[in-house]
């Protein structure tokens, strides 16, 4: 197991380096001049030259990459061209907020999705299974911006029940809770899109487990259905969900650009989107690197957790 973990970590480091190289090349392939994009149409050639010199954009690309790597290894992700702040500050402000928002929505999706999957598994092949699956797949298929706007129209504009947007100026995680009613709609919208996935994974896994010998044994022992469901079926069927959760770590880091835009939530998704539009290389590189790291860490964590929880896998490696 130890060798397995070491090997996986080594692979992860290689992947992160690859992501850095690829991202650096891709962002520099963006058409047009960065300085012009940042300084605007009226920027004089002298001002453009000053900008390029200030940010080292007049140096050869390999030199820029080398300096970037050097800075990153020293914890310096650079200064955002458009915000004028350290990239690490921008990310540090947004990341915890996204973690809370997306964490809450994931939790809500799990709370709904797992029992729903179990319910479908127990009733699989029936009309009830089809109705539940159809409902969640319909919601899953609907664009999240449409769901968000519909919910806002109903609950904020018409009934004035929930805030349609986060209050401006949230800079901390605590700030998210200054007006809890603002959290309701974004959490629900983000959860809606995850429930279908969780419930279907749960359903498939549970159907598989229901056919196992130990389930028949449990019934033969005279255990109640409730006991069988919660003690035996749930614990075994939930394993695939752990993998899914691990793989959803990058989502927490990458944010949710649509929901962030609609609900006035300045998170990682919007940061990345706006930096791409404004040629803000340091932010793009910083955000991509963080997302890349989260992806490999999520995969690694899922693999390790799976190995720890399932002895068959642990012994196989």
């Amino acid at each position: 197991m130890t060798w397995y973990i070491v090997r996986r970590i080594g692979q992860s480091v290689a992947v992160v380096i690859g992501v850095m190289i690829l991202t650096f090349i891709l962002v520099h392939l963006e058409p047009g001049s960065t300085a012009r994009a940042v300084l605007g149409l009226k920027a004089t050639p002298a001002r453009v030259a000053l900008f390029n010199n200030t940010y080292g954009l007049n140096r050869p690309l390999p030199v820029q990459f080398w300096l970037y790597c050097d800075h990153v290894l020293h914890g310096n992700f650079g200064i955002s061209y458009s915000a004028g702040q350290p990239v690490s500050t921008l990310i540090a402000q947004r990341l915890p907020r996204d973690a809370v928002l997306i964490g809450m929505s994931t939790l809500l999706a799990l709370i709904i999705g797992i029992p729903m999957g179990l319910y479908q598994a127990i009733h699989h092949g029936t009309v009830r299974d089809d109705i539940v699956a159809g409902t969640w797949f319909t919601l899953y298929s609907a664009p999240d911006f449409m769901e968000a706007l519909l919910l806002i129209a109903i609950f904020s504009v018409h009934f004035h029940l929930f805030q349609p947007a986060f209050p401006g100026g949230i800079t901390s995680v605590g700030g998210l809770f200054t007006d809890p009613s603002a959290l309701v709609l974004p959490v629900v919208v983000l959860a809606i899109n995850s429930v279908a996935g969780f419930s279907q994974y749960m359903r498939s896994s549970a159907i598989e487990e229901l056919a196992q010998d130990y389930m028949r044994t449990a019934r033969a022992k005279g255990l109640s259905e409730r006991m069988i469901m919660w003690r035996h079926l749930l614990r075994n069927a939930v394993l695939p969900i752990i993998t899914i959760l691990g793989l959803s770590l990058p989502n927490i880091v990458a944010g949710a650009v649509i929901a962030e835009a609609i609900f006035n939530f300045p998170g990682m998704g919007l940061l990345f989107w706006q930096s791409a539009l404004s040629h803000d290389f340091p932010v793009m590189l910083g955000a991509t690197l963080i997302i890349g790291v989260a992806t490999v860490v999520g995969n690694l964590a899922a693999d390790i957790a799976y190995g720890v929880l399932d002895p068959r896998i642990r012994h196989a490696v």
Partner: protein
Amino acid sequence: MPTKRKLAAVAAGIALTTLVAACAAGNGGKVGGGSVVKGQKIKGGTVTIAEVAGSPNDIMPLGPSTNSNGFNIYLDLGLWPSLTYSGDGAKSVPNPQENLYSKLTYSDNDKVITIDLKPWKWSDGVPITSRDFTFVYNLLKWNYNDWFDYVQGLFPVDVAKVLTPNAHTVVLDLTRSYNPTFYTDNVLATIPLLPQHAWDKTSASGKVSNYDETKAGAKAVWNFLQAQGSDMGTFATNPLWQVVDGPWKLAAFQSSGYYAWVPNKNYSGPDKPVLNKVIWTPFTTDTSEMDTLRSGTSLDVASVPLNDVRQIPALKAEGYSVAQVPTPGVAEILPNFYAPVAGLLLRQLYIRQAMEYLINRKQIVQKAFAGYADPGNGPVPVLYGKQFDSPLEKAGGPYQYDPAKAKALLAAHGWKVVPGGTDTCVKPGTAADECGAGITSGEPLTFQLLFASGTESYDEQNAAFQSTESLGGVKITLKSEPFNTLVSTTGTCNGQSHPAATCDDWQLEQYGYNTYLMDPTGAGQFNTDANGNYGGYSTPEMNKLIDATEYGSSSSAFFAYEDYAARQLPLLWLPNASIVFVYKSNLAGVTPLNPFSGLVNPEVWYYTKPTS
């Protein structure tokens, strides 16, 4: 010249929501230019203003050249107003009550300006003096290349000498004569006074001295102030920024862009704030701003995005009043006179004229902008009033929509006109009835219009342009790009550098509009070496006429320039969308909107309660 100022950075469609205001009046009286205030005036209260798709990130009023954030001006102007206060109500004239000077005298053939400062005080009680002006001058003299608002050849390099005969008088001896209107409206309106007694230092713990009087000292002070000015975490707590001469002081600032003003209790100006607090609250997108407005909860003042003007009736139902003001700027389709092949076509005035005849501007105003737009008859919007709007522009401009004239023009110059298809040149050559220099036989009259994506109104406008141009056989293909990509591919060319530079990746471009200050001069846009002349237009006559508006003193010079530009079409004129603004109906003093003042003067706003 006008479009290089910080306001210009806002121009490209970033909608902050704080235009406004007028001079306050008493209960039930007239406000500013004339809106009637109903209800009893309430002292105090908080106004929350939406700040969309951007926020300030630098507080130093003389911002660095590498920071083009147009939102900084909104943060600064209420704290450190400029010498000339732009706009009196909605009029494009300086506001004598709010100017920092009591008198401005031009002498020696308009080469010497005597500025008599008002006996006002800084917020810490120290009098404002001519030393504060020399402090600004000295800082800029040694650092103008790192000052965002610096325009080549203008302040401070156009100053030969600064004299301060007494504590309240400044004499500027300029290197050449200027048109007083131009200098007052467009140069002095960008220069604030700064508190020498508090800011002339090189470190936070250092003592104030006369560092600015030497080059090394001025550079050290500049660097110190710029470093402090970009430290967003300390904007509201740094003692430097608490010394102000405007009506407001900064009470809170968060790096998210949220900030709050409270009244400067020692403000010397005429309009003492009535409100207790003004809050700017950031919105990531205009969608979230509109949703918040529609829910009728936390916003008191906000702009309405062009895409959402049809929701105005719903906003009225939520208790908002609506106001609009034409944007002080010029919207256009920019021709690239040096694009391969297309540039040869666009250099022909008759082709530009035909294309302008084929733009149905009235229809665009109604259909694309729901009636909220200036008609775009020429280089100056109609809002500028009698001193800047020539009779030609007021009458609708030289090229009103007329497809028949367009077709006749093209046919008369050797084109086979195919309405709905593509015209082709059938008479190449340079004679009066031939296509023109460099245009070959069979050349199709076709262009690609590159435009900024993301604004539905612009999409509709450009589709209308494409459609009506086809009536004259001018084939337009449309291509949209994100605004910043569009900007970055335009290049850094002008009429002087264009032939030698690589700015040929586009033919026609539409990115929004160029902003003006109070004097809507063409300097900076249409003169050969202008920084904003990236289409490469160049004629000696235009240069001469622009120079006359900037350096001459003839009152007729402006109309001569304006009409020449309107006819010459260095740009294809388009309607310019207005700024549409909603505010809580019990908030008074908001109208008439002042589009010139930096758009931020809630010092004249106040709440009312209904009178029984």
